[in-house]
Symmetry: C2
Subunit: 336 residues, 2 copies
DNA sequence: CTGTTAGCGCTTTCAC
DNA sequence: GTGAAAGCGCTAACAG
């Protein structure tokens, strides 16, 4: 027998409508009433029923966080930031895992099931498929993408082309010419753009410097250290192995570092390595990387969605590109 | 104008009560009616309103996942497993971050706000404070702890004492006597037991082998690579530095590895290192570790909570201790 | 500024 | 096996 709004109303000596208004801080309540209601509610230990409130008011106070991964560092860090921001303003975070891009056997994401359950969405890249995106739009709730852009939908991301260019230019500036790239997943079913853009940036910088890397210098990895290691082993067994590697993520770079060590190569003496992200352990590892503000992207995406929910239409079309920066540590040096 | 149960009832030619029963698969509905209702619902694209359903039925179909961290590997991996299991059976995962154990400025976790919003809880260690635990129990919903035990509450964990012993014994068996331990956070406000138990296991094995390690061999780290590195630097600057380090987590161990490299020490030649977890990148790093089934613990905790919700009282008092195993890789060897 | 009155969309007795 | 009707606890007009 939980405490209901009616009990609070009785104790405070007002109507349930007034209790409702007072507790939500609506302006049309006198300070005295406000205080009386607050006290009564607090005394009774009253907590509004979310279901009743949602049903009557049409708002769920919940934001869905849609993501293909949870345990990977980048995703976990974004989710953490989104959850904090939501909790700060009294919203719930509903975690919605969608099938991983590369596994075929997972059931497809059915946005329909979210109908009426969320007031907004924060969607982490890799992007949803066209069909999923259409379905999700049909939910007609505010939403923001993190890590990818899409016209007509708010987004917060970094400039992956620029990341690729900056990384390659850093290596080129040090005197490297044989620079390989590792990233991108051939099994990707959601055409995740980041690795492709980072690769394009690398290629662009290379060509701009008058270098035309052989196709064997563009390796694949699904953003894990294990595949980064494997890719590096392939690179090192080439007739003309690279003197530097640009990894599309720090996780991949860790794999590169391990492979180099196994092969008896010194880093950065024999092989320079640069990653992307500035993962929690990158500083400890001394990894040179292109840092991106991961948590800040999550926080901002949550803020944008909340702002639009609050009626701030001016932000409805924001496409924020956050800054990245080269963090030069110990894994890059001129070729020997 | 979403499709309501009434619309489905009209199309199927039955009452809303029957639609409700049919869609939930209650036995008291004839197969024909069942099929007719299913078809009508599907044709209309009907999705039940969670709020209305919760309000009327008293069940939210939501499980709260309470955690002090989201982005750390262990937590993210458990959360991932819990979310998958919940989604598999149609439950929602409500992510609830509680203040990190060591930060004083976060607002305390108020379990009261979850009243009526969840049908059950999965709570990740570090444990809640006594007050929080009492409050949470007052919610009177089934719950399971992961990574810690508590009488009267279901739990899924590993034997941390045994982990500590196994790790130390492995090192002792290789011939080490000067074995240090890194783990445990002096700022911990939630008396997180795992690091203490792992340390106790290490100490027990040491004493059993007739070794009494100096107190300087028990170092602190908050389970991050950065503090693991710092702790190692302190250990290496001792008059009599250890020849082996047992780190309470793989993340800490990564920090140890980096510190050793910076100090010009070869691993395992000059320093042996063993961790705990079997983190995603540990295999790539060649780290010897005590592996624990992280995802499996999360999945099982979710299963337990769901089972009790379904009325399976027989599991209400389960305290599962999952097995761990030594994974001997490349960072441990006899002392030189 | 506050009270009254309808619902929100579903589940659940209780009949039949 | 199925329907009718009564709420679940709250918010949203609409008055005053």
């Amino acid at each position: 027998m939980p405490v209901r709004i009616e009990d609070v109303a009785r104790v405070a000596g007002v109507s349930t409508a007034t209790v409702s208004r007072a507790l939500r801080g609506l302006p049309s309540v006198s300070p005295d009433t406000q205080a009386a209601v607050r006290r009564a509610a607090s005394d009774l230990g009253y907590v509004v029923s979310r279901s009743a409130s949602s049903l009557a008011g049409g708002k769920t106070q919940t934001i869905g966080v849609v993501t293909p991964y949870i345990s990977r560092w980048y995703y976990a860090t974004v989710i953490d930031a989104v959850e904090r921001e939501l909790r700060r303003v009294g919203y719930d975070a509903l975690l919605v895992g969608v099938g991983e891009p590369k596994t075929a056997d997972v059931e497809p994401f059915r946005p329909e099931i979210l109908r009426g359950r969320v007031d907004g969405l924060v969607i982490l890249t890799a992007p949803l498929t066209g069909q999923e995106m259409d379905d999700v739009r049909r939910l007609t709730v505010p939403m923001a993408l993190v890590g990818a852009g899409a016209s007509g939908t708010m987004s917060v991301r970094v400039d992956d082309l620029s990341i690729g260019r900056t990384a390659a230019e850093h290596l080129i500036g040090l005197g490297h010419r044989k620079i390989a790239y590792i990233g991108g997943d051939p099994d990707d079913r959601r055409n995740f753009a980041a690795p492709l853009d980072r690769r394009a940036g690398w290629l662009s910088a290379m060509r701009h410097a008058g270098i035309d890397p052989p196709s064997s210098y563009a390796e694949m990895s699904d953003f894990t250290a294990a595949t980064g290691q494997e890719a590096t082993e392939r690179l090192l067994s080439l007739t003309e192995p690279p003197t530097a590697v640009f990894a599309a993520s720090d996780d991949i770079a860790f794999g590169v570092l391990c492979a180099a060590r196994s092969a008896g190569l010194a880093v950065p003496g024999d092989l320079s390595v640069i990653g992307v992200d500035d993962h929690d352990i990158s500083e400890t590892m001394g990894l040179t990387t292109i840092a991106q503000p991961v948590a800040a992207q999550g926080r901002l995406a949550a803020e944008l969605v909340l702002a639009v929910i609050r009626g701030d239409v001016s932000r409805r079309h924001e496409h924020v590109v956050m800054p990245t920066r080269l963090v030069d540590r110990l894994t890059t040096a001129p070729p020997s």
